[in-house]
Amino acid sequence: MPETDKLQQGALTAGQHQLARRIEMLEQLAELRENGLLSEEAVEGLKQRVLEDEF
């Protein structure tokens, strides 16, 4: 495989991994909300921070 393809593949994998992590974080927040442990407002604030790639 050419070097550029390798780099693209690596970047794609990293991007997928990052996306998976964000989804996992959002799922955790959803569970916390569902369990009543966090308010809607608190979850929304954390969700925005996840979407803005703060973590």
Binding site: A14, R21, M25, Q28, L29, E31, L32, E34, N35, G36, L37, L38, S39, A42, V43, G45, L46, R49, V50, E54, F55
Partner: protein, 574 residues
């Protein structure tokens, strides 16, 4: 003033009088007792006194702290919110080592460390006296007899005298000392980059993901470091949000959260106290107390010329001290609650004797007290608190670790006694020097403390005698107090019976280690997240239960006056 006279303290019998305010309380038509009772509580009396189960399965609040049962591990428990527990339950790894291990001991470690603590520590907990059958005078005497001691030597007499002195003073100190307000704990800082890098390398090595080629290896590690840092920041943010939520509920007088926090605060109290209901700003505390013989040392510790000695206490004095101590403990419990939760307006304390196995509703109430915030704090607050340090350091000295230098031979005292049991010593024994040193230091602390004792006595006197419409009791010359009524008069007997037969309250005599076993736990952010989970599960369970019984309607808060109506009416008739 009518009343009992003690050295420096008088207990008036006005507690049995019914003041104007109580005389004018309205009689609720809607079944006061049915609704004011422990909406959240499931009380029972076990071998260790009053326990209160939440009725939600694995979680309960007992007089020994919040307890969790059922294979849920020594540190953290799921309360049914399995998703949150599973993911967040492990906690940030940077709290997993030093943070938890240091504070939360397993049952096994507790058992082993218990044996290393001296009798004084067992008696007084964290510098606060706990009358306990296990440490009663009769046990002390039996222990001496078992050791073949016919007559106490001067060291044993000195120790007994100091113990008696401490037991007499401790209830007054408990009442006069300040208690901290609950504070929202800060979320601990993230670990530094070196720790994160180390963790990243370990992760990658375990996963066989480390390349031998340096540039790729470095990049892989850096990527993993960034990932871990992101995860930690997320966990930290979630943790902060959970603590914020938990503390907000506490501040808003959420009953479940407040009962859990207050139970943790009471965990080291002298009287076994369980907060069982919060109705508006009215807290109801159920307290169990040992009998006269178990609660009062029948000797008086006399401090003269920097030395302690004992003198006999008469039966009458013993009973009077018992009355004073119990009232001080009840008032101290209320004071602590007021201090921990500044929004509490009234604290009612219901005291029952320690009678395991007896039907709860039939338990006699030996003392009732309804404390109002302002007047209680006014009477029970001593502006000068410099003596607290003196008291605590004195206890610390008395309970100094050199007791444990002789653990293999049964502790300092036993080892020391062995050395002086008639066998002539060649030269000065280092154990005597250690004993003298400890005793001398304790004596200096006692001398310093005595300079403040008048203020402490005044605080107790004011609290016991100057609070209007607070106390409900009948004096007995033998047992200290005659019953005012039974617990079933105040709390619905059906609820008590149901709690008594609740399997979830079994095993409370074997507490599993949880953060709430020490008041120190409330300074830990993980305590608050766990309390939040428990409170949420508790509320859900209670809501389901209420829905099935009442169609989802919540009874309106009842006044504290209404709660005490049955006793007030009875005392008025007497």
């Amino acid at each position: 003033m009518l009343g009992i006279r003690l050295p420096g303290i008088g207990i008036s019998t006005r507690g049995v009088r019914v003041g104007p305010r109580m005389a004018n309380v309205r009689v609720g038509s809607g079944g006061v007792r049915a609704s004011v009772g422990p909406r959240f509580a499931r009380a029972s009396v076990g071998s260790r006194g009053v326990t209160v189960g939440s009725g939600i399965g694995p979680v309960r609040v007992s007089n020994r702290g919040v307890q969790l049962s059922g294979g849920i591990g020594p540190v953290r428990a799921s309360t049914g919110t399995s998703g949150a527990s599973a993911r967040l339950g492990l906690g940030p790894f940077w709290l997993g080592t030093s943070g938890r291990k240091g504070r939360y001991r397993s049952s096994a470690s507790r058992a082993s460390s218990q044996s290393r603590t001296s009798k004084v520590r067992n008696l007084y907990g964290d510098s606060r006296a706990r009358p306990d059958a296990a440490n009663s005078y009769s046990d002390h005497r039996a222990g001496l007899a078992a050791a073949g001691v016919q007559r106490r030597n001067k060291f044993e007499i000195h120790d007994a005298a100091m113990q008696a002195w401490l037991m007499d003073l401790a209830p007054l100190v408990d009442l006069a000392r300040p208690y901290p307000k609950a504070q929202k704990p800060a979320v601990p800082a993230l670990p530094n980059k070196h720790e994160i890098r180390k963790s990243a390398v370990t992760d990658l090595r375990d996963a066989d993901g480390l390349s031998w080629w340096p540039p790729r290896r470095t990049k892989t590690i850096m990527d993993r470091v960034a990932e871990i840092r992101g995860e930690l920041r997320f966990e930290s943010a979630v943790l902060k949000a959970l603590v914020d939520e938990a503390f907000a509920r506490f501040e808003d007088l959420d009953p479940a959260m407040n009962l859990i926090v207050l139970q943790a605060s009471f965990a080291d109290n002298a009287g076994t106290a369980a907060p069982i209901d919060l109705d508006g700003d009215h807290l109801l505390v159920l307290m169990s107390y040992p009998s006269v013989d178990d609660a009062v040392w029948p000797e008086v510790g006399v401090f003269e010329n920097d030395r302690f000695t004992v003198k006999k206490r008469t039966k009458k004095q013993t009973v009077e001290y018992y009355q004073r101590n119990l009232m001080c403990h009840a008032a101290a419990t209320a004071k602590e609650a007021f201090c921990v939760q500044p929004r509490l307006g009234t604290v009612s304390v219901v005291v029952v004797p320690e009678r395991p196995g007896e039907r709860l509703a039939d338990l006699p109430v030996i003392l009732g007290a309804r404390f109002q915030r302002e007047e209680t704090l006014r009477a029970a607050t001593l502006p000068d608190t410099s003596w607290v340090q003196t008291w605590d350091s004195g206890l610390e000295t008395w309970d100094s670790p050199d007791d444990n230098d002789y653990d293999n031979s049964g502790g300092f005292a036993e080892g020391f006694m062995e050395g002086f049991s008639g066998v002539s010593q060649q030269g000065p024994d280092p154990r005597q020097a250690a004993w003298e040193s400890r005793t001398g230091a304790a004596a200096r602390a006692v001398s310093n403390f005595l300079a403040h004792s008048s203020g402490i006595h005044k605080t107790a006197n004011d609290t016991l005698n100057e609070l209007d419409d607070t106390w409900m009791f009948r004096i007995s010359n033998k047992t200290g107090f005659k019953p005012v009524g039974v617990l079933g008069d105040l709390v619905p007997a059906d609820d008590l019976d149901a709690a008594d037969g609740n399997p979830s309250t079994e095993g409370v005599a074997s507490p599993i280690d949880t953060p709430a076993h020490s008041p120190e736990a409330v300074y830990d952010c993980l305590f608050w997240t766990e309390a939040l989970e428990m409170a949420e599960a508790w509320i859900n369970e209670q809501t389901d239960s209420d829905d099935s019984r009442t169609g989802g309607t919540q009874p309106a808060p009842e006044s504290p006056d209404s709660f005490w109506d049955p006793f007030v009416e009875r005392l008025k008739r007497l």
